[in-house]
């Protein structure tokens, strides 16, 4: 190749920078440029022009090449996928995890349960029916504004913010400013702790997937507004996988030996909220509902 191109120092310079492929193109370009000449050696000006053009194009293109990994996901300083930002689902799992038709104030939706139906034990079905029938007064999240628990907090129709550093990932949900800490420092679930509304979450990485193990979930939360329920034996394993910079595939496996016949799985995409300067605002459900309930009431024994 060197001999063919017949240049001295300049050849060495652009050889070091351009890869082998670049060299091949260069040879081709030079050949073309010199195709009108009787000999290559006589084609000095054209050869020089082509090489210089290629050299400077490559140099100037370097910064752009460095900045644009084609569809690469953002990474944190520790090399892990960087989930920082606001995320939200677009489906209707908040109303009903299973297939459902539209009704007043509820959109139709295709279910997110793998296999279609939640595998209840027969003894757990009456409670599901009773919950559904009384949902407007008994849904702990919609009627009482309690924290929705996991996985329901993920698919409430509100954004949530992921706040990530290497030892701790925090999810801050706009609904009722609910929040949970996912400890990624290798610590185990604590022994002898009571249940929490948002459970106890311990996370680890499997390659680029964040796997979160959730226990200690209070049995008073529902899985959706349709009254799907669980016991204090609920154990949830979530998986967060960034499929591209603006989407996370969210999967959750639920097992509860007192309520379901086997573990079952849901999945849905999380969409990054792209608006400029977007931030979590406040949905202070508890305050709104207190006003509704007690706004005109008088305390016991008041004059």
């Amino acid at each position: 190749m060197l001999k063919f191109l017949g240049f001295g120092l300049r050849t060495r310079v652009y050889e070091k920078r351009a890869g082998k492929q670049k060299r091949l193109y260069l040879c081709f370009a030079v050949k073309l440029a010199c195709s009108g000449h009787k000999s290559y050696d006589g084609c000095h000006m054209n050869k020089r022009a082509v090489v210089l053009f290629a050299f400077w194009s490559f140099l100037l293109a370097l910064p752009a090449l460095a900045q644009a990994p084609a569809r690469g996901i953002p990474r944190a300083a520790d090399g892990k996928p960087d989930f920082n930002g606001l995320w939200q689902v677009l489906g209707t799992a908040a109303w009903d995890l299973e297939d459902h038709n539209g009704s007043l104030r509820m959109p139709a939706g295709q279910g997110v349960v793998e296999g279609g139906a939640i595998p209840y034990q027969a003894s757990a079905l009456p409670k599901k029916r009773e919950n559904f029938q009384t949902r407007d007064i008994n849904d702990p999240a919609e009627a009482a504004c309690y924290m929705p628990g996991i996985p329901r907090a993920t698919y409430m129709p509100f954004p949530f913010e992921i706040i990530q550093n290497p030892k701790l990932i925090t999810m801050s949900y706009e609904f009722g400013h609910a929040r949970r800490s996912i400890f990624t420092d290798g610590s185990p679930h604590p022994d002898g702790f009571p249940d929490f509304w948002m459970g106890d979450s311990r996370g680890r990485w499997e390659g680029d997937t964040l796997v979160v193990d959730v226990t200690n979930l209070d049995d008073r939360t529902w899985l959706d507004h349709a009254g799907n329920h669980h016991s204090d034996a609920l154990h949830v394993v979530e998986r967060y996988t960034m499929t591209d910079p603006d989407h996370i595939l969210y999967e959750a496996t639920l097992e509860d030996s007192k309520v379901f016949t086997r573990p079952w799985k849901i999945s849905m995409p999380l969409y990054r909220r792209m608006e400029k300067n977007v931030r979590i605002l406040e949905y202070e459900c508890v305050q709104y509902i207190q006003e509704q309930k007690y706004g005109n009431a008088k305390p016991v024994g008041a004059k």
Binding site: L9, R12, V13, A77, N84, N138, P140, A143, A144, C145, Y146, M147, E161, I163, Q164, N165, L168, T170, S172, H177, A178, R179, R180, S181, F183, S187, F196, W197, M198, D218, R220, N277, R279, I280, L281, E282, E284, V286, Q287, Q290, E291, K293, Y294, G295, A297, K298, P299, V300, G301, A302
Partner: protein, 299 residues
């Protein structure tokens, strides 16, 4: 000759990139030994971790006596049990000797507008027994605490990312994201219990400007409300591995005729402590007890 020139050119470019940081390091080595914090990847002091806050209170001289404050300490007291980061007696003394509470005005007689002081005394007189829902103490209604209404027996967690500094309160699980990415405040009609915070670094001090408060949070037992004209400035400066100096300036022109300055500190929590969940409304029986009705299912 050309090859030589090229080599010199490349070497110069590389050196120009490296030299500034070498120069800075030497300059630092020459100054007298002063503790400097570890830094986050974007070059700011690393204040991340779990902290106990103290001193951040509107301590008022001659605060009006109310039944609230009379029995405030009668219920189960409990200590702040998670700080042992300050491990030597000298360091403990250093923390204890820092100023705390209102430092300006120095005499703690707050610069009330007379009509505002009258309004809050009137309000206080309706709180025991509470005349209606709004007169029930804010913390007993699980109102988000704003900047001063939090219970500092519960810790705070700081997380830093490029573009924001996050202060999480364990108490009532509120989260303040202070944006340091140059964005402006949200529009004036957006009103928030926790306000809207934007911050910038002045050297190693984070200066936080917060506006867009609503008027629904409480400052203290003696000052049960403020106005939506509230504007605060906070300054966070890490002074040693276990202490963040915290300065808070409050301006509420509808209540006070002058700004009020408060001094406080965040002290490092002992290793092994974690933020726990503090669900409020879910476990509170206060309103059903006061009003005699309205327990939610599961209570």
């Amino acid at each position: 000759m050309r090859r030589t020139l090229l080599h010199i050119a490349v070497a110069s470019i590389l050196a120009a990139g490296v030299l500034p940081s070498v120069h800075a390091q030497r300059a630092q080595d020459q100054t007298p030994a002063k503790w400097t914090p570890a830094r986050t990847p974007d070059g700011h002091p690393d204040m991340q971790g779990l902290w106990a806050r103290r001193g951040a209170a509107l301590t008022e001289a001659n605060a009006p006596k109310t039944p609230l404050s009379e029995f405030g300490a009668t219920g189960q007291p409990y200590p702040t049990v998670f700080n042992t980061g300050v491990s030597t007696p000298q360091a403990a003394a250093a923390l204890a000797n820092r100023p705390a509470g209102v430092i300006e005005p120095a005499n703690r007689m707050l610069p009330w507008r007379p009509e505002a002081d009258a309004a809050r005394r009137e309000f206080l007189s309706n709180m025991i027994p509470p005349a209606s829902l709004k007169y029930v103490e804010a913390s007993a209604r699980c109102v988000p605490p704003g900047l001063l209404g939090g219970d500092d027996r519960h810790p705070y967690q700081i997380v830093q990312r490029p573009g924001s500094f996050v202060l999480m309160y364990e108490y009532n699980h509120v989260t303040r994201v202070v944006y340091t990415d140059g964005r402006p405040h949200v529009g004036p009609n957006i009103r928030l219990y926790m306000g809207d915070s934007i911050g910038k670094w002045e050297g190693d001090t984070l200066v936080v400007d917060t506006t867009n408060f609503n008027d629904k949070t409480s400052f203290s037992q003696a000052i049960p409300f403020h106005s939506d004209a509230l504007h605060t400035t906070e300054r966070f400066t890490m002074v040693d591995p276990y202490i963040i100096d915290y300065q808070l300036t409050i301006e509420d022109p509808k209540l006070f005729t002058a700004p009020i300055r408060i001094a406080g500190a965040f002290a490092a929590a002992a290793k092994g402590n974690e933020m726990l969940e503090f669900a409020c409304a879910e476990g509170s029986q206060t309103l059903p007890n006061i009003f005699g009705f309205g327990e939610f299912p599961g209570q």
